[in-house]
């Protein structure tokens, strides 16, 4: 809470353009999804256009913020606003994942056992004899209606046992992502010591590891669909598996993209000083957050 003047930017066109881009984006997305069966539909171009507008607006908006920063308009107090803002944004992301983890815990601990007739609630459900053949297990490879409306999977993504641990993709994904959290930390240490070369090299390695992770994840999805028959519509196990890992993968892409931008800023524009590099720090916090989410996924989606 220092005294002095806080930089209040003058009028800006960016916010309303961004709101307009979001409008185009969601209108395009809604119409595209509603017209998935209609090959003649052109709605997807609205979606692309909205996305392009959003991307461009964000590019110019961030460029403006960086320019203002380099012009020395940011007081320490303003930097503190960015720090708090990013922290609360990450908290909101935590709560987004909490909704999906909550759904996972609920179906595993309550819904699936009840559907199979466990406990007094389960007894009430099976009394109506809708799905008498269903048995509770996790990962649940069948559905209460025995795959009537769903494509049942042959194999799950669960822990294959120690003997096959090294052929198991999620193990490699864990190793890759944990290492990337370590390398981004090394990059940060390098920057704090004023060692630009170390910063660039380790940040480069981190971005590379992010790409590897996304590649492995794509490979895993390919295996799931092509060889295991595990799909989004394979019942509740497929639903929770793909939604949790999918949103995580999407966040890895966003985090990796942020880090790549920071790398480009450092390599091509020489941005970031020893004691002044919040742009990078925010991206690295985000990266650590994505890493922690993966650990939760590894434990609760894959292992247990």
């Amino acid at each position: 809470m220092s005294g002095g003047s806080y930089y209040v930017p003058d009028q800006s066109r960016f916010p309303i353009f961004m709101a307009l881009s979001l409008f185009l984006l969601v209108m395009g997305a809604s119409s595209t999804i509603n017209n998935l069966d209609d090959p003649a539909s052109n709605s997807v171009y609205i979606l692309y256009f909205g996305f392009a507008c959003l991307f461009l607006t964000m590019f110019f908006w961030f460029r403006q913020v960086i320019k203002e920063h380099l012009a020395g308009l940011d007081s320490n107090q303003l930097k503190q606003s960015y720090v708090y803002g990013m922290a609360w944004f990450i908290f909101s992301e935590v709560m987004f994942f909490a909704a999906f983890f909550g759904a996972l815990f609920y179906v595993r601990a309550l819904a699936v056992p009840w559907l199979a007739g466990e406990g007094s609630k389960g007894a009430a459900i099976t009394a109506i004899e809708l799905w008498p053949a269903f048995e509770s297990s996790w990962p649940v490879m069948t559905t209460p209606d025995q795959g009537n409306e769903f494509d049942l999977a042959k194999k799950s993504m669960a822990w294959p046992g120690w003997s096959k641990a090294l052929q198991w993709l999620p193990m490699w994904n864990t190793i890759v992502l944990l290492s990337s959290s370590w390398t981004v930390h090394l990059a940060h240490l390098g920057l704090k010591k004023g060692n630009r070369r170390k910063f660039n090299v380790y940040l480069g390695i981190t971005v590379f590891l992010a790409l590897i992770f996304v590649g492995l994840q794509a490979l895993e999805y390919y295996e799931a669909y092509a060889h295991y028959g595990l799909k989004l519509n394979s019942g509740i196990y497929g639903s929770t598996f793909f939604m949790l890992t999918g949103f995580h993968g999407f966040h890895v892409m966003m985090g990796g993209f942020m880090l790549a931008i920071m790398l480009a800023r450092s390599v091509f524009a020489g941005h970031f000083e020893q004691h002044d590099h919040f742009g990078f720090e925010a991206a690295s916090w985000y990266w650590h957050f994505v890493d922690v989410v993966w650990l939760m996924l590894f434990i609760f989606v894959y292992i247990l």
């Binding site: 809470m1 005294g3 003047s5 806080y6 930089y7 209040v8 930017p9 003058d10 009028q11 800006s12 960016f14 916010p15 309303i16 961004m18 979001l22 409008f23 969601v26 809604s30 509603n34 998935l36 908006w61 320019k67 203002e68 380099l70 012009a71 020395g72 107090q77 606003s81 708090y84 803002g85 609360w88 908290f91 909101s92 709560m95 909490a98 909704a99 999906f100 909550g102 759904a103 609920y106 309550l110 819904a111 699936v112 559907l115 007094s120 609630k121 009430a124 799905w131 649940v140 559905t143 209460p144 009537n148 769903f150 799909k231 989004l232 519509n233 019942g235 509740i236 639903s239 939604m243």
Partner: protein, 527 residues
């Protein structure tokens, strides 16, 4: 660096830009507050018009005016518009106007993001309202959009509804982050946490709740989207999911959401009662702790909305007691407001009338909530008009009266003009009578067993429904008087002094009326 930026910086202390771009491109917290307030007023009138359709249909038993399908769309949109378009943006508008002035900050912490938070809203509500004209009609599953009504049996426009909720949520989260960061980082030296005005405290807690639960709502609508279009089975028991899971996720968002709509009201009413009692507020720190307790408890009471859905007994008992616990901090607040008025030098200008009505009528809503918290009793009350009466008592003479009180209380500071006291009092009495005539009879028909969300009802409910509709028309049309009073005040009137009210305390009353475009560019001194 760039000359453009430096020029901008030099112009910084000037007044507002001319023309429409002032509003489109603004970064000024007062402009954005005004935008939010007018937007919410527009939504209040649109949602109110829908309420008029509902009450006109219910004026007599039998189908009178609209088709049942359209009636369902009206109740759904009425709820969504009043909550997300009426009450929430009104409080955000008040936060924008008042929080920086109350803590001695030059503006909100992140002014451009502030503008973005606002401008998403008109687009989001344009999408929501445009669904009325889509094939299959607007969302018709009630504002709580329970699966499978909102998934398996939903009209195609549900996809647009889902994405509009997504961007509304993004707007709320950004707005809330802005408020939290402003309060944490922008207080003038000397404004310590326990010296903050209660409205600021109430918004700090509200913003925390918003950041915690709006993402959960985003998760809920995302699962709906996937269930509808991409074959997942989160809410489909045939695939191993559970429709009740939707209710759990929704109410984990929904219950804190209820407090998001009432905590800022607590802050407003504390200020107004203090001013017009010409005394110091009784029990400031207990007010803060009460709000914190309510906020924390709000995360562990969600299943009291679901007592009849078939929860395990242990869960029903836990959620019953946790809910009743909330009566304790709420009781502390009501006690403190009454104790503040006790032996005060009371005067009853319009804001005070609304604030006192708030205390009385909100308490009625709170007590009916306590009745609903009792599991065995709730089995009778659930989904009846008793519930409708309960939440309208806490939202209309609760949240909305506090917003009106705030407008009357602070509009002299915003516009520089006093409102017309005679018309203000008239507006109050019409609203007060209207709201009670509308909602009090709904307790009776609810206890007698009339279910909510139906366009028709049994003949035994006819008399009280007619009374309720008459009250609703009175309340609804009285709000046009409010619109007139606000416009009249903005256009002109008796000039307001800087302090405006004899007993008013706080930094916002130390600046000129109307408040200059930029206030506290350098932080004020507080001891």
């Amino acid at each position: 660096m760039s000359a453009v930026i430096e020029n901008h910086h030099d112009e910084h202390d000037h007044g507002p830009a001319k023309g429409i771009t002032r509003w489109l491109y603004t970064t000024n917290h007062k402009d954005i507050g005004t935008l939010y307030l007018w937007f919410s007023f527009a939504m209040f009138l649109i949602g109110g018009a829908m309420a008029m359709v509902i009450r006109a249909e219910l004026f007599q038993p039998g189908m009178q005016i609209v088709e049942p399908e359209f009636y369902n769309q009206m109740i759904t949109l009425h709820g969504l518009i009043m909550i997300f378009g009426g009450v929430m943006p009104a409080f955000v508008g008040l936060a924008n106007w008042l929080v920086p002035m109350m803590i001695g900050a030059p503006d909100m912490a992140l002014p451009r993001m502030n503008n973005l938070s606002f401008w998403i809203l008109p687009f989001a509500f344009f999408i929501l309202l445009s669904s009325l004209f889509m094939e299959g009609g607007a969302p018709n599953f009630g504002w709580t959009f329970y699966a499978p009504l909102s998934t398996t049996y939903a009209p195609p426009s549900v996809t647009f509804f889902i994405f509009s909720v997504h961007i509304m949520g993004a707007s709320s989260i950004m707005g809330a982050i802005n408020v939290v960061v402003t309060i944490m980082n922008m207080r003038a030296p000397g404004v310590t946490l326990m010296k903050m005005p209660l409205f600021v405290w109430s918004w700090l807690i509200t913003a925390y709740l918003l950041i915690a639960v709006m993402p959960v709502l985003a998760g809920a609508v995302t699962m709906m989207l996937m269930d509808i279009h991409f074959g997942t089975s989160f809410f489909n028991a045939a695939g191993g999911g559970d429709p009740v899971l939707f209710q759990h996720i929704f109410w984990f968002f929904g219950h804190p959401e209820v407090y998001i709509m009432i905590l800022p009201a607590f802050g407003i009413v504390s200020h107004i009662i203090e001013t017009f009692s010409r005394k110091q507020l009784f029990g400031y720190s207990s007010m803060v702790w009460a709000m914190l307790s309510i906020a924390i408890l709000s995360f562990v009471v969600w299943a009291h909305h679901m007592f009849t859905v078939g929860l395990p007994l242990a869960a029903e008992i836990f959620f019953m007691w946790a809910t009743m616990l909330i009566a304790v901090p709420t009781g502390v607040k009501v006690f403190n407001w009454v104790a503040t008025m006790f032996r005060g030098s009371l005067t009853f200008e319009t804001p005070m009338l609304f604030a006192v009505a708030f205390v009385v009528l909100f308490t009625i809503g709170g007590l009916s909530g306590l009745m609903l918290a009792i599991v065995p009793a709730d089995f009778q009350y659930h989904d009846t008009y008793f519930v409708v009466a309960h939440f309208h008592y806490v939202l209309v003479p609760g949240a909305i009266f506090s917003i009106m009180a705030a407008v009357y209380y602070w509009i002299p500071k915003w516009s520089g003009n006093m409102y017309d006291e005679r018309l203000g009092k008239l507006h109050f009495w019409l609203s007060f009578v209207g709201v009670n005539v509308t909602f009090f009879p709904q307790h009776f028909i609810g206890l007698a067993g009339m279910p909510r969300r139906y366009p028709d009802y049994a003949l035994i409910f006819a008399d009280w429904n007619m009374v309720s509709s008459v009250g609703a028309f009175l309340f609804g049309f009285s709000q046009l008087l409010f619109l007139f009073i606000v416009i009249k005040t903005v256009m002109g009137g008796k000039k307001a002094t800087d302090q405006v009210w004899e007993g008013a305390k706080g930094l916002e009353w130390t600046v000129a009326s109307p408040a200059p475009y930029h206030t506290f560019s350098t932080p004020p001194k507080i001891d």
